[in-house]
Amino acid sequence: MNGAADLGGMMGFGPVVVEPEGPPFRADWERRAHAMVIAMGAAGHWNIDASRYARESLPPGEYLTSAYYEIWIKALERLLVAHGLVSAHELASQQSLRPGAELRRVLHPDDVRAMLAARRPYERPVEAAARYAVGDRVRTRNMHPTGHTRLPRYARAKTGVIERLHGAHVLPDSNAHGAGEHPEWLYSVRFAATELWGDDADPSLSVSIDAWESYLQAP
């Protein structure tokens, strides 16, 4: 979707506020929010693409005025409600008002380390050969789905060059909506900044994205 999360190329946010290296959390609620998102993710009722879609679906003004872990917690609340695990009324009243549903999996404290250390690859075997090879010129599709996609607006209908093949990966556009993994070949595609941003762009700059095969077509 063309939501507020699709920020590449937007202007008006001012300079980057640089922080020195240090702990990534600035408040304890951020730690708990992050941990809850991971723990509820481990329950297996939704996948990472559904989580991202829930975040980018927040009303744009709310997205852009929320701290990042606020976005996570608001999206988690929406997922809990959408999956019937917590009611909107419970969230509003800030208390549990009925017994919990049966979770697919409850994360046990002893399993946390192993879960975080486990590789859960997104690569899948596919029978089809890759349609494009390194060096091929490709054009990204002009597409504006209302659902989830990982093709940013700034890189749509632009011509670039295949830079790497990453194997076939789970397609977020369907996986986010529970419509299956539909793995596709995944490529790094490199664009000249002048292609993305026009003749006034820095000629010494290029930008690559990782793009699934169905995002691409012959130029």
Partner: protein, 192 residues
């Protein structure tokens, strides 16, 4: 931007609800919090330092970063598919996730707030030299910049250039020069 009182209370209330419903155990949350206190850019710094002293390792890192990083014991969530990109005098790499906050947790830890900020995400792909200026970095105009927007589950690690005057340094001393920002592309290794 976070509401200083509303949000912590909201998070606390949600935790209480999830616990009461039996969806999460508080000690599991504690364990997750604890696990990420330990993970940070020192992991990535070890990878970079090794690549500086061991040409064969460097080669493996550039060809299959996931495996090369696993040799040093790092991997797992948000590091399943790693790619290492190497800075040279000709090319400087910069990593961003314009769409959310994708970041290689096993080698860099959790991302700093600026990495997730609209200011960084919006500008890194259209004005990276301006972004670098915010970090106090000015590259030669002749240096090309390659920005990598992490739009899939591939996670990128920048291998910065080894600072001059470090010949013969041991690996652990070299690792101390490798800052978090130098592995994102918004910084350079500490001057030796």
């Amino acid at each position: 931007m976070a509401d200083d009182t509303g949000t912590p209370r909201r998070v606390e209330a949600l935790e209480a609800i999830l616990v009461e419903k039996g969806y999460v155990e508080r000690t599991a949350l504690d364990a997750i919090v604890e696990a990420y206190e330990d993970v940070g850019p020192k992991n990535g710094a070890k990878v970079v330092a090794r690549s500086w002293v061991d040409p064969a390792y460097r080669e493996r890192l550039l060809v299959d970063a996931t495996s090369a990083i696993a040799e040093l014991g790092f991997g797992g969530r948000q590091g399943e598919h790693m790619v290492a990109v190497e800075n040279t005098p000709e090319v400087h790499h910069l990593i961003v996730c314009t769409l959310c906050s994708c970041y290689p947790w096993p080698v860099l830890g959790l991302p700093p707030a600026w990495y997730k900020s609209p200011a960084y995400r919006s500008r890194a792909v259209i004005d990276p030299r301006g972004v670098l200026a915010d970090f106090g970095i000015t590259l030669a105009e002749s240096t090309r910049i390659e920005v990598h927007d992490s739009t899939a589950e591939i996670r990128y690690l920048v291998v910065p250039m080894r600072p001059p005057g470090t010949d013969g340094w041991p690996e652990d001393k070299l690792a101390e020069l490798v800052t978090r920002d130098s592995m994102i592309g918004t910084g350079l290794p500490v001057a030796s």
